[in-house]
């Protein structure tokens, strides 16, 4: 019992750093990564509206000082942008499968 309690405390302590509140620096890093991916998608003429919305939501949350929400929205924007890039790359050939012949 004592051993499992000790292990649990150790586990809780080891996870503690990742559970800390997001800082402005975290937000800036997450936003920069999302913005770069979003620009890449736009350059491929394949931007998604939801990426733009998530980026805007991240900025709004950061402006309001809620960096936790801002980081989450920025990470979502990056994931969406990366999905749109994947779509654009795969569709370079995949569109042919849909063609009426």
């Amino acid at each position: 019992m004592k051993l499992s309690l000790g292990l649990a405390m150790l586990l809780a302590l080891s996870l503690a750093p990742s559970a800390r509140a997001a800082s402005e620096a975290d937000y800036k890093a997450a936003y920069a990564a999302a913005e770069a991916a979003s620009k890449e998608a736009a350059g491929m003429r394949n931007q998604w509206t939801v990426t733009v919305s998530a980026l805007a939501a991240a900025k709004r949350a950061a402006d309001g000082g809620d960096f936790g929400r801002a980081v989450a929205a920025a990470r979502e924007a990056e994931a969406l942008a990366r999905a749109s890039i994947f779509q654009a790359v795969s569709e370079k050939e995949a569109w042919k499968a849909m063609e009426i012949r």
Binding site: A42, R45, N46, Q47, I100
Partner: protein, 287 residues
């Protein structure tokens, strides 16, 4: 040993024959052949909907659903695009400040020519749509351009379409590699999936015409531009071909392109070409 050599030679011959048979198909699949494309495109719809009269495809969802068709025919007695049509007629004949009119910019004074748009301009190396030609006409005569998506542009194109009703779509692809490239680019755009919904134009208008997407009945891609511009109840107003492309994109959660971007011009070229031989029915009315 001899038997093994025979077996090897036999396999090699079989492989060569198989390659020879498959190779022309591979080449044909990658060759741009608009005539074959248009034939295949039209046959696809004719076979999928054997009870729809060929010329009826230009009426979009009404060709897919008898009830909707009857309602639309009744509405056509007092069509919702009538105001735009009247406005377009007046605008068309009103001189610019320099005294010239739209008629001076177009063949046949702009009357009965809708079926020839878009066309490929060999001088410029690009596709010219009717909307683009109208704004260029304005700018050449010292007037400011109109919005490409609605209002005045929709009224002008409504009038020009109306003077061409019943004329058969007649889009030419000149013997110019740039024209073929534009056509191919339009075709690629039409079939390419985009947006978070991962839809292409074809997902709705080839794979699912006649089906419902929420409250709407999807129109077939064949002849879909013959009815443009349209009054759409959903928009509570008129919209141009540009507006249709922009809203289609945003419905798939893709950021739409600029009206009259190369991609939109090219997809208009492709869709109009494969509708060759079908009548102009614009301006139209849609739910």
């Amino acid at each position: 040993m001899k038997a093994r050599i025979h077996l090897l030679l036999g396999s090699l011959s079989a492989a060569l024959v198989a390659f020879a048979l498959a190779a022309p198909r591979v080449i044909a699949a990658d060759k741009v052949d608009p005539v074959a494309d248009a034939k295949a495109f039209q046959n696809f719809f004719f076979q999928k909907f054997p009870n729809v009269k060929h010329e009826d495809f230009v009426n979009g969802p009404y060709s897919m659903n008898e009830d909707m068709k009857r309602q639309w025919q009744e509405k056509e007695e007092f069509p919702p695009y009538e105001f735009a049509l009247e406005a377009g007629k007046e605008m068309f004949s009103t001189p610019f400040k320099n005294g010239k009119t739209y008629a001076d910019c177009f063949p046949n004074g702009g009357i009965g020519i809708r079926q020839n748009y878009p066309y490929f301009d060999s001088g410029e190396g690009k596709v010219i749509t009717l909307e683009l030609a109208l704004n260029r006409c304005r700018e050449a005569n010292g007037e400011g351009p109109y919005s490409y998506v609605k209002d005045e542009m929709a009224s002008l194109t409504a009038y020009m379409a109306y003077t061409s009703r019943g004329k058969l779509m007649d889009i030419k692809i000149p013997d110019d590699p740039r024209a073929l490239a534009a056509y191919e680019n339009g075709k690629r755009y039409f079939y390419t999936r985009r947006g978070q919904m991962n839809f292409s134009c074809a997902s709705c208008h080839v794979q699912s015409p006649g089906e419902r997407i929420r409250a709407e009945t999807l129109a077939p891609a064949l002849g879909i531009l013959n009815a443009m511009p349209i009054y759409r109840s959903e928009w509570s107003g008129m919209g141009t071909t540009s507006r249709r492309f922009v809203t289609c994109n945003s419905q798939t959660r893709a950021v739409s392109l600029e009206p009259q971007s190369d991609e939109y011009r090219d997809v208009e070229y492709f869709l109009s070409y494969v509708a060759n031989g079908l009548p102009i029915s614009g301006p139209g009315a849609r739910p």
